[in-house]
Amino acid sequence: MAYQVKLEQFEGPLDLLLHLIRVHEIEITDIPIATITEEYFRVLTAMQELDLEVAGEFLVMAATLIYIKSKMLLPPAPGEEALAEEEDPRRPLVDMLLEYQRFKTAAGDLAGLEERRREVFGRGAAVQVPPGRGPLELSLFDLLAAFQEVLKRAEGRPDVEVTPRPFRVRERMVELLDRLAQERPLRFFALFAPDADRRTVIVTFVALLELLRQGALKVRQAAPFEEILIYPAEDA
């Protein structure tokens, strides 16, 4: 019952375990696995009784605890006594808990700094400085957000094609146009490196077909079975 208030505050199974370790004043490096497993399941049951959704992560940890518990019940094989310390089945879990706890502490430090910085204010008035001419500042996040915005707007206009296409093909299309700018015509078989894998061959071929469909290039063959040559469309 005492858990009820706190239940929703657990940010995951590790957080819950740290809480149990704290309230039961357990040494983190020597966890009584049977006790802690029992406690852990009590909380999960409480969560279900409260109709809180028990996230998959909590169930994975439950399985892990049971696994550790069963491992610890097995007597060590003869001659392995000396290694017992090293092979403590709790070790990986303890490492995870210690690691997570350090970041929890670090998060607390950040929260403190955040609070302090909330006491500091920059200049309030809008900037009167003329637009910058310095180096370009462009964040990938901004670019992604812009593209998402475009996609969102395009949804209302079904005639506009903004559907995603496989990117490798697109990339190869650009490469093909690049090569055509350097050497024209391009020999068809020169498009495929001798060591190209099947996937690369397919991507290249699909890119070629797409460019043909778009009319950005054209192919010629002087006679059947002769070499196929590829030209940019403007050389028509």
Binding site: Q148, V150, R153, A154, T163, V169, E171
Partner: protein, 221 residues
Amino acid sequence: MSPDPLAALEALLFASPEPLPRERLAALLPELSPEGLAAALEELRARYASPQSGLMLDEVAGGFRLATRPEVAEVVVRLAIVRPSRLSRPALETLAIIAYRQPITKAEVEAVRGVNIDGVLKTLGERGLIRILGRKRDPGRPMLYGTSAGFLEYFGFRDLSDLPTLAEIEALVASPHPRRTVEYDPVEEPGAGEAARGPGARPAASGPAPLPSAGPPEAGG
């Protein structure tokens, strides 16, 4: 202990987004009498009146604010030269469309954005972010645009496959609409037989662009 009235006054003038009328200042600093406020304003004005000060108390129509002194204007305008410039929203969107849809014509970009992009294309070209890839054999033989080596270099991409995929964008940028379940061929799954689908198998040619849903959560530990 409440802060020094002069310090409080200065901070208010600095942090306020708009000039502060005398009455507003009086309301913000109830510990000051009207005479006290007038005296504090005068004292602040006098403090800034030194040649070593770059600021001044500026009384404009709406009230009081801090501003740079006219004597340092010539230095302040130099800021524009070193300030990083940013792409405008239209430029950003155009660049995004070109990056993800290349090779693409101007008309095709305009069809997506719904506006003329002549000016924006020029900007992006001057910035070295896009380039002309060739011409399309359509009526008028429009030019095809794509991103430049400069674009790749700017973001440190080795090639275009480094661009975040649509699924990755979805995972990073909050979707403005609820995720829908649409039958969809996943975008870029390196190693999978994506090429086999090819352009002909483009999904949803008939409907709005479906956004791929994020994949299953990765190992949760």
